[in-house]
C-alpha cells in the first residue's frame, strides 16, 4: 500500500468514526424525545384515571433516566476522565440527604414512617454512589 493510499484509508476510518459518534448523539436525542412524549402522555392520562403514586413513580423513573442519559452521553461522563464523574456523584450524594432533611424538617411528607424516612435518605445516594463510582469509571480518565 502506498503512502497516499494509507492516508486515504486512515482518513476514511476517522470520518467513519465521527459519523458513528454523531449517530450515537442523534439516537440519544431520539430516546430523550420519546421519553418526554411518554411523560407528557402520563399527564393527560392522569386527567382520567391513573393513581397519583403510579404517576409519581413513572415520572421520577423517566426523569432519572433522562438525567443520566444527558450527563453520560452528551456531557461525556461515560468516556471522560473519572474525576468529573466522581465530582458529580459526590455532589449528588451530598445534595440528596441535605434537601430531604430540609423537606422533612419543614413538614413535607409528614406521615412517613421514621424508618422509611431514613431509608429514603440513605439508599438512593448509596446506590448512585456505588453504581456510578464503580461500574461507570470513565474510559480514558483512568489513564491519567
Amino acid at each position: 500500500m502506498t503512502a497516499t493510499e494509507q492516508q486515504l484509508s486512515e482518513g476514511a476510518e476517522e470520518s467513519s468514526s465521527w459519523v458513528k459518534q454523531d449517530m450515537v448523539y442523534i439516537k440519544t436525542a431520539i430516546v430523550l424525545g420519546v421519553f418526554t412524549a411518554i411523560e407528557v402522555f402520563t399527564y393527560f392520562e392522569s386527567v382520567h384515571h391513573a393513581p397519583d403514586w403510579l404517576l409519581v413513580i413513572t415520572l421520577s423513573f423517566l426523569m432519572v433516566i433522562k438525567f443520566f442519559l444527558v450527563t453520560a452521553i452528551f456531557m461525556h461522563l461515560r468516556d471522560d476522565n473519572a474525576v468529573f464523574t466522581k465530582l458529580m456523584v459526590l455532589g449528588l450524594c451530598i445534595a440528596w440527604p441535605v434537601y430531604f432533611v430540609m423537606a422533612f424538617t419543614f413538614g413535607f411528607l409528614p406521615n412517613w414512617n421514621p424508618i422509611l424516612k431514613v431509608l429514603f435518605l440513605l439508599v438512593p445516594p448509596s446506590i448512585t454512589g456505588s453504581w456510578l463510582g464503580f461500574s461507570f469509571k470513565g474510559g480514558t480518565g483512568s489513564h491519567h
Binding site: 459518534q21 404517576l55 452528551f74 459526590l90
Partner: protein
Amino acid sequence: MVMILRKTTRTHQRRCPLTDTAIDQTSNEHSDGDHGSTLGVSNDKLGMWVFLGSDCLLFGGLISTYMLYKDRIGPDDLGPEEMFDIPFTSVSSFVLLMSSLTVVLAITALRRNDIRRSRIWLLATAILGAIFVGGQVYEFTVFYREGLGYTTNLFGTSFFTLTGFHGVHVTVGIVMLMSLYIQSMRGKLTSGQSEKLEIIGLYWHFVDVVWIVIFTIVYLFPQ
C-alpha cells in the same frame, strides 16, 4: 496479565473520538505548561464542573422551596393546575432538549475541523435557546395577566424564582454561544480551541438537565 490486557482493550474501545482529541489536547497543554493540573485534566473544564456542582445546589434549594410552597395559595388565587399550559411547556421542553443535540454536534464538527458546520450548529443552538426563553417570557406574561404576580402568594414567588433563575441561565448560555459564533466568524475559533466550546457545551447541557428535573417536578407531578 490477561485481565489487565482485557481491561486495557475494553477501555480503548470505549474511547470516543471527542475524548481522544480532548486527551491529546490536554497532553499538549501539559507539555506547554499551559493549563495542566495535578489531576491530569484541564483546569478550565474542572472549574466548569465545580461551578456546575455549586449550581446544582442552588437549583436543588430552589426546587425544594417550590415543593414546600406550591400549596400556599389563597382561597381565591389560581393554583398550578389552573395556570399551567402543559402542551405549550412540553413543546418548549422538547426545543431545549434538541438544543443539547445541536450543541454536541457543533462540538464534534469543530473537532473534525468542519468550521462551517460547527457555526451552523452553534447558531441553531442559540436560536433554539432563544425560542425557549421567548416561550418562558410568553408564559410569564400570561400568568401575570391571569392574576399570578411575583408577590401574589408563596406559590407565585417560588415558581417565578425557580423558573426565572433557569431562564437567566439559558439567556447567559445564549450570550456565550453567540460570542463563540462571533469568534468563529472572525476565524478565532479553530479545532485546536475546541475545549472552549466543549466547556460552554457542558454549561448548556447542565441547563437542559435542570429543566428535565423542573419540567417533571413542577409541571407534570400531580398537584
